[in-house]
């Protein structure tokens, strides 16, 4: 993983600003570190040389008092800089996260909905990106310092004492070199043990989740010994990995401190033989650890910050994933009989066609009941009619006009769809019903709710239509959610400018008998006199529908039997 992903710089302008600010702060901080070392060595050397604070007059003591005062000034300046840099970094992080998040959201919500793991995307866009805070506020500034400080310190030490400069110049490049070598070795070993660690780590969760099942089979107490055994295995495997993983930090620590020790001894002897003066020696001694400090900090913060980088890379991967696109015409919305002419749908990356050579007419103003087993393409058929997916081959016409030529948004305005598992929004009941018709008057909402058998549900809510339903409509049961979705469809169908198309996907699957009965009554009302498609596995629906309903059966992968019932 690269410490600085160029895509991050390109995507989020805040990152570029942040780098500039971090570099500026780094340069100022480097200057202050050098200044402080110089002041301290000067004060100690002068004081040792006999220039006290209270000496009557004389430039030496005035100089000393000034230098001590300057140390206080440096302290205040460093504190201000530390605060400012951290605050600026957190601000940049907030902006950069927002930029990445909104790019991600705009990208995945563009076009037609696609099959994605929405839960994972939500986590990525919130907690995942939050890991960038550490990267911005702790890692990047330290990375800047790790480049600047050693170079500046080396240059200054070289000016003061070239032998010490050689010691530092030789050891500093050794650190990244050894770390890379150890890191490569560790990587190989860690990768080998990762699968084992994962499995062992997941065992406890597995056992705790399965506790009721274990209890049922009278194994709960017996399993305790296994918990212990597996945790011990986990410990041994982890320690095996850590012994190697910690080597990298070990090399860094030993090289950095030993180098400082060498410099101290070396400069001590040169001082002893009179080759340097005390002030220079102290100056070099104070500066030497500063050359290694940022490198150690970068090493210590590497892992935490890489989580943020990993999250950013996930965002880039999602951005590279093309949005779902359909052929979007701009023509007027046609009406009349819907016909599918030898339509085939093949999803990329799947062996089998989702729908193979389907030829079907959906007569206007009548209901078609589409049954068939899972995988026969029932949901794909609804996807085609919703214009979520285009036929890979064949075409769909409405009253003889090609559906693909029509404006998809305009077409959907005439479609009332109730999915198998409708999504309710964290909004009021009325807001959820108004999803497609935000301007519908309250009277129309009430009527739609009534038609959808929602009256008793609304009456039972604390604020009626103004009750907020919570995330994913958590306040309601599955059957009640289904009825809210039906009300949504009623409102759309009633207000549709053209003769609406009603699409229903497994309206009563997973519902208990009471809710199923209510939904069936509402569906009967909704499809009456309208062009409707009900997709279900359950042929018993035929008894519920108007007499002129058409029955079509999909067999994986093609239509086997179709025709008019009765």
């Amino acid at each position: 993983m690269k410490p600085l992903d160029p895509r991050l710089l390109r995507t989020a302008s805040a990152v570029r600003t942040h780098l500039l600010v971090a570099t500026g702060c780094g340069a100022a901080l480097t200057g202050l570190i050098l200044l402080q070392a110089w002041l301290v060595s000067r004060v100690v050397a002068r004081a040792t040389g006999g220039a006290g604070l209270e000496s009557t007059v004389g430039s030496a003591s005035a100089d000393l008092a000034l230098a001590i005062a300057a140390v206080a000034a440096v302290a205040v300046a460093r504190a201000g800089l530390a605060h400012g840099a951290e605050a600026a970094a957190l601000r940049s992080a907030a902006t950069a996260k927002s930029q990445l998040r909104m790019r991600l959201v705009r990208h995945v919500t563009a076009g037609v909905p696609r099959d994605r793991d929405a839960g994972e995307l939500v986590t990525l866009a919130t907690r995942g990106l939050d890991a960038l805070d550490d990267y911005f506020a702790r890692y990047l500034p330290q990375l800047v310092l790790a480049v600047m400080v050693p170079v500046a310190v080396l240059a200054v030490i070289a000016g003061a004492d070239w032998v010490s400069a050689v010691v530092v110049a030789v050891t500093i490049p050794l650190i990244p070199l050894f770390m890379a070598l150890v890191g490569m070795h560790t990587q190989a070993r860690t990768n080998r043990q990762w699968a084992l660690l994962n499995r062992l780590g997941g065992h406890f969760l597995d056992v705790v989740e399965g506790l009721p099942t274990l209890a049922l089979f009278r194994r709960a107490k017996a399993e305790a010994a296994l918990v212990r055994e597996v945790t011990d295995q986990h410990r041994e495997a982890t320690m095996g990995t850590l012994k190697v993983a910690f080597l990298s930090a070990f090399v860094l620590e030993v090289l950095a401190t030993l180098a400082v020790a060498l410099v101290a001894v070396e400069i001590g002897f040169r001082l002893l033989y009179g080759q340097v003066d005390l002030e220079t020696a102290l100056f070099v001694l104070i500066l030497a650890p500063e050359a290694y400090l940022p490198l150690r900090e970068v090493g210590a913060r590497f892992h935490a910050s890489m989580e943020g980088i990993a999250a950013a890379q996930q965002v880039f991967t999602a951005l590279d994933d093309r949005a779902g696109v359909i052929a979007a015409g701009t023509g007027a919305v046609p009406s009349g009989d819907l016909r599918l002419h030898d339509v085939t749908v093949r999803y990329p990356g799947r062996d089998r066609a989702a729908l193979d050579d389907l030829d079907l007419t959906l007569p206007a103003g009548r209901t078609t009941l589409v049954t068939g087993p899972s995988g026969a393409g029932k949901s794909t058929l609804l996807g085609l009619l919703l214009r979520f997916v285009d036929p890979t081959a064949g075409r769909i016409t409405v009253g003889g006009d090609d559906l693909a030529a029509a404006d998809p948004d305009g077409w959907r305005r005439g479609v009332a769809w109730v999915p198998q598992d409708p999504h309710l929004f964290d909004d009021t009941v009325a807001g959820n019903i108004r999803l497609g018709e935000p301007d519908a008057p309250m009277a129309a909402v009430r009527r739609a709710a009534s038609l959808a058998e929602l009256d008793d549900v609304v009456a039972g809510l604390p604020a009626g239509f103004a009750t907020r339903l919570g995330e994913r409509g958590a306040r309601l049961s599955a059957g009640q959610r289904q009825r809210v979705a039906l009300a949504r469809a009623f409102l759309r169908a009633e207000r549709s400018p053209v003769s609406p198309l009603v699409l229903l996907d497994e309206p009563t699957a997973h519902l208990d008998p009471d809710n199923a009965a209510a939904v069936r009554r509402a569906v009967g009302r909704l499809v009456e006199g309208r062009t409707a498609v009900i997709v279900t596995h359950d042929p018993a629906w035929a008894d519920e529908l108007p007499g002129d309903a058409q029955l079509a059966r999909l067999e994986a992968p093609a239509l086997v039997a179709g025709g008019l019932r009765r």
Binding site: H203, A249, L258, A281, R412
Partner: protein, 588 residues
């Protein structure tokens, strides 16, 4: 956080972790040695150089020279060993904690808590937080206390006021700043949580509700809502950044001012003749290096706060009292027997969930319990599995009253498929042998055939059985129950999460496998009732009507009003989920 009567979450976590005294102390000593080596190196080097400046003989420096080099190596070695020792202690602590948490859970069986998968996974990560307690929570402050004490003692020996100043600086930077930073961070943390919750909800709506939004032309509005929530969160974070940066600034200020104070006091003391030049160098450079000691403390404070929060959540679950009172461990006779439930009443905390339920399952008969959600059907299963005590009534299997036998005694004769049966991340064989550890492969293959599951015993089933389809998981769970050869088989919503095609086939095969065995099928839908000998309709905790399906259809009751439109119960035979392993994630 807000002073409850319960002992503090942190204290209880410590008790749970039962610190591994020896290893933990060794870790602290090693950590202190590593830090001390770093600070000591600079103090010693200062002495070396200041002494060298007086041009003594080489021998006067030789000990210091050797010591300096030794310290240079000590730091790295001590740090490496400290990490190994503390991580080892932490992992042992984790083992202890898991052990104890599991034992408590196994003893109290808070089964109702297990309905929420989120809660269970949080409970596990809260248990795992105990390992942070030692490594990242307690070792840094204790090591800092040791080294800080030593450094202050050294400085005090050199110059009393210098030592006191350093002590003040270290305590402020190591204790006051982390505490104040935590307090200052509370407001921003709360504001960010509120803003993040709104953003998260808006994102869930926009991303998970995408099909509904696009179909109803409302995606633009949803994205606008995400934008507004994001802008709000970003604004809050940017405004609070200054507050959150205070800690870093305060630490830097304290370090710098302590250095300045040391210089001031030191030089004054030298001028007054109370301090030699060499100790001055040592005093000042020690003060310069000493703040390394307190650097890890803010992170440790944050870690301890997180562990305390984990402790409070964890003990919220562990303190759940058992749902079942101790009872006689006298075994219940095995073999076919009639189940007679009379006047059964059950309540959890509020009103009665079962309110005088009477129900019979004659030996060998198949009986269904149907009814609307919340009627108390699953509570009946919980009572039969002995996960839940009854308040009154009797549950007799043959001559034994199950309510007065121990859970294990009852589970020897009553088994079945609970709601959401857990499939363990192991092989088919291990999942089956759970029910009968001594079973031979032939017996296992035989029971797999009875539930019409064509799997290899060595097939891995994946995490939570993710490599199996929903129907296969139910079949495996039933196979497991059949292996215990129970007198009564209880099936609690065995088809709840199956797609309609699979549902009929699975139910049919489950009932085939249970032929001749007393079986109680609890279900919220009305599929497959044709095959049941007797059907009970439970509403509001009591039996509303019962009889054969034909009788119930003929009478004008709850069931006859709802049978219309339900599938015939004939096996569809079109699609079977028996067979080979399916991939872990199937597309829509």
């Amino acid at each position: 956080m807000n002073g409850t009567a319960h002992p503090d979450g942190l204290v209880r976590m410590l008790a749970l972790a039962r610190p591994r005294g020896g290893r933990f102390a060794l870790g602290v000593v090693l950590g202190a040695a590593a830090t001390a080596a770093g600070v000591g190196l600079l103090s010693l080097a200062a002495w070396l150089i200041a002494t060298a400046a007086t041009h003594p003989g080489v021998t006067a420096l030789s000990v210091a020279v050797v010591l300096t080099r030794a310290l240079g190596v000590t730091r790295g070695v001590a740090r490496y060993l400290e990490r190994l020792v503390t991580h080892d202690a932490a992992l042992r602590t984790l083992a202890d904690a898991r052990d104890r948490v599991y034992a408590r859970l196994a003893a109290t069986e808070p089964v109702r808590r297990f309905r929420s998968g989120d809660l269970v996974s949080r409970l596990v990560s809260d248990t795992d937080a105990t390992q942070d307690l030692l490594v990242r929570g307690l070792t840094p402050p204790l090591a800092a206390l040791l080294v800080g004490g030593g450094v202050v003692a050294l400085s005090t020996a050199l110059l009393t006021e210098g030592g006191l100043l350093l002590a003040a600086g270290l305590v402020l930077a190591g204790v006051a700043v982390p505490l104040l930073a935590a307090r200052a961070g509370r407001g921003p943390g709360r504001r960010a949580t509120v803003a993040r919750a709104e953003l998260s909800t808006a994102l869930v709506d926009a991303l998970q509700g995408a099909p509904d939004l696009v179909a109803y032309g409302a995606m633009d509005r949803a994205v606008a809502r995400v934008e507004a929530a994001d802008a709000d969160l970003t604004r809050t974070a940017r405004r609070d950044a200054r507050l959150l940066g205070l800690g870093a600034g305060a630490t830097a200020l304290l370090a710098g001012l302590t250095l300045w104070g040391s210089l001031l006091l030191g030089v004054a003391a030298v001028t007054a003749g109370r301090l030699e030049p060499i100790p001055l160098a040592v005093l000042v450079l020690t003060a310069l290096a000493a703040f390394e000691i307190v650097a890890p403390l803010p992170a440790a404070a944050a870690r301890l706060g997180a562990v305390r929060a984990s402790g409070e959540r964890l003990f919220g679950v562990l303190d759940t009292p058992p749902q079942v009172r101790p009872a006689a461990d006298e075994p219940v006779p095995a073999g076919p027997a009639d189940l007679r439930i009379r006047d059964l009443t059950v309540r959890y905390d509020g009103p009665l969930v079962l309110d005088g339920l009477d129900l019979d399952v004659p030996a060998g008969a198949h009986v269904a319990v149907v009814g609307p959600s919340g009627a108390g059907k699953s509570t009946l299963a919980a009572v039969l599995f002995r996960f839940q005590d009854a308040e009154g009534g009797a549950v007799r299997l043959g001559d034994a009253d199950l309510l007065h036998r121990s859970p294990d005694a009852v589970r020897g004769v009553v088994s079945g498929v609970p709601q959401d049966p857990h499939v363990f991340d192991s092989t088919v064989r291990e999942n089956l042998r759970l029910a009968r550890p001594a079973a031979t492969d032939d017996e296992l293959l035989d029971v797999l055939a009875r539930v019409r599951l064509d799997l290899d015993l060595d097939d891995p089933v994946g995490i939570r059985g993710s490599r199996l389809s929903g129907g296969m998981r139910q079949r495996l769970a039933l196979a497991r129950a059949l292996l215990t050869d129970p007198a009564l088989l209880v099936l609690d919503e065995p088809t709840a999460h199956l797609d309609p095609d699979t549902r009929d086939a699975v139910l049919d095969d489950l009932l085939d496998a249970a032929v001749g065995r007393a079986t109680l099928l609890i279900t919220h839908d009305l599929a497959g009732l044709e095959r049941m000998d007797h059907v009970y309709v439970v509403r509001d905790g009591r039996v509303a009507e019962h009889g054969t399906l034909a009788e119930l259809r003929a009478t004008d009751g709850w069931l006859s009003g709802r049978q219309k439109g339900q599938p015939s119960g004939q096996p569809s035979g079109l699609l079977s989920d028996r067979g080979a392993l399916s991939p872990a994630t199937a597309g829509r």
